[in-house]
Symmetry: C2
Subunit: 341 residues, 2 copies
């Protein structure tokens, strides 16, 4: 491929969309043109990109004419409607919503884990759920050494995962509490300031939330192995940026603490921060704004054979969303999987 | 027993000590006299009890003469030194520190779980760790129906568990951040505001923290069953009051979601809050100031046979510390295990 693609970012004014533009600029993504798309409400506003300002255009059925690559982060309904329109016009779509993720014709990709699945794309590639991405980045290199049988994961998820409104809500609630004012939840069902809410997305009949079942089902699809069993409890915590996860991982054979550290140190996209005696372990405070998935507190589970406990933290807006989508786009270009006329 | 005991509260000016006095008053604990004890620094200060003010006395080797029952919450070193002195003088000690908990001659008691162990006391009874108490209150009734084989627990622990200084530290840090000032951690190794710190108490050679191993070892002692295996990851979160726990519990035979709800609904000290469709589940926001251990998000684990996922929340200062100690004291009186001359 010699020519640079025309790239559209749908949902460019949201928290993830803005981060996508920042990351495209940071990484000097090879684009002939970047077109920010959003709803009519935001159309006409200006958004920074490198040294220039781009004018946000309204997302319509005609938006993808002449566009080679589109990155969507505009909600499931928008992706449902517009991703097929874009794909039909020859544009390759990387979609951050949950709508297409479990479609058998749509690859669900974390570039460190299953880049080969990109080759099967039919115009749409799905970006996994934030909490799934950082987990599979850590699971895959261990799975390659000793098959993972079962994972018990509990999450500590930042409010930025619910968008800019939720960031504002946490900030506002803290101020309200400190001023002895009434707290008025809007994004979340209850006060999130100084609280933990074990409720992300809708509840299903089996008692899990959709967010929890995403971690169960997306992990199997990304890892390409139905024998990997996951149970998840997902919890919102009063943190602005950075999702944390407590992982218990049962493997077919024993992986020692030292071996786990060595395996993860060599794995792509991971930074091992595991020197507890020196107070070195991952935390949202350090992971915010970074690209890597951080892992620490690695230890052999004393309650059973062949299991590890770990603590995994990543920036949910970057690796959990915008960065992973841009990495997919980069792989698509490198593998020549985008047609640029 | 006809006569009311003379009761001392050692560490009366700390967060847990103050709560102990509040709870003794609330429950109209039958005491001939209440003597608040503290270090020389606090001696002479006044502390409210019912409608009167008590004068804090200095804790010395002579403090326990004429005292029938003493509740300690003054740190491990104080308990190590003074609990045997008190016991030798005929006083029964209920100790909230970790110092005596694993001593084979010291019962470790949660009244809902193993009140019968009180009968073996030799002058000192230990109050378990906060995160252990709320877990075993929920585990025991399930264990009685189907033996618990393994528990994977991840905690979300409030700063009040580290004392009043930590409550002040979280408050101060939030204000510093909102005023764009530098954050200066003191109680915790890192900023706790809007962060999660996977580090409570010291690290051990096996990679676990002491806090985590307390949950492993104390659970076995309280449940009186060495076959109950626990692995724990303990995490401090920016919440003032109320510890939360994500529990995965593997049992010998299947317990359905409905059966688990029914068993826990009938169990002492528990309030089942488990109607997710109506947004009813436990949270620190609701548990603070309450006596019960709250459990919800009960569901059958889809990753393996015979396992349940649950979400357990309790007020760490009340059930996790002061209330459990006062409940032990009440049981001692009811069972006539305190000698009142």
């Amino acid at each position: 491929m010699t020519k640079d693609p025309v790239v559209a970012v749908a949902g460019a004014t949201g928290a993830v969309g803005r981060e996508m533009l920042r990351i495209l600029a940071e990484r000097d993504f090879p684009a002939k043109e970047i077109i920010p798309l959003a709803s009519s409400r935001s159309a006409g506003s200006k958004i920074e990109y490198k040294d220039s300002k781009l004018i946000v255009q309204e997302l319509t059925e005609d938006s993808f004419k002449g566009v080679d690559l589109a990155i969507f982060s505009a909600g499931g309904g928008t992706s449902e409607k517009y991703a097929p329109i874009a794909a039909k016009s020859g544009c390759v779509v990387v979609d951050n919503s949950s709508f297409w993720r479990m479609d058998p014709d749509v690859p669900l990709v974390v570039p460190e884990v299953n880049p080969e699945d990109l080759e099967k794309h039919q115009g749409i590639i799905a970006n996994p759920n934030c909490s799934t991405i950082q987990m599979v980045v850590v699971l895959k290199p261990l799975h390659d050494v000793s098959r993972i049988k079962r994972v018990v994961v509990s999450t500590y998820q930042a409010v930025s995962g619910s968008g800019q409104k939720a960031v504002h809500e946490l900030e506002t609630q803290v101020k309200q509490l400190f001023n002895m004012e009434e707290v008025t939840p809007s994004v979340y069902p209850y006060q999130i300031a100084f609280n933990c809410i074990p409720h992300l997305d809708a509840f299903l009949d089996n008692g899990y939330t959709k967010e929890e079942m995403k971690m169960v089902n997306e992990t199997v699809k990304i890892m390409g192995d139905e024998s990997v069993k996951v149970t998840a409890t997902t919890v919102r915590v009063p943190v602005f940026f950075g999702h944390s996860e407590s992982l218990n991982v049962q493997t077919e054979s024993r992986i020692s603490r030292e071996d786990a550290r060595a395996i993860l140190t060599q794995a792509p996209g991971i930074r091992v921060m595991d020197n507890p005696e020196e107070k070195i372990y991952p935390m949202p405070l350090f992971a915010a704004g970074k690209d890597e998935t951080f892992v620490g507190r690695i230890r052999e589970d004393q309650s059973t054979e062949n299991a590890l406990d770990m603590w995994v933290v990543a920036d949910n807006i970057r690796k959990g969303a915008a960065l992973n989508a841009v990495q997919i786009a980069e792989f698509l270009l490198v593998k020549d999987l985008v047609r640029v006329p």
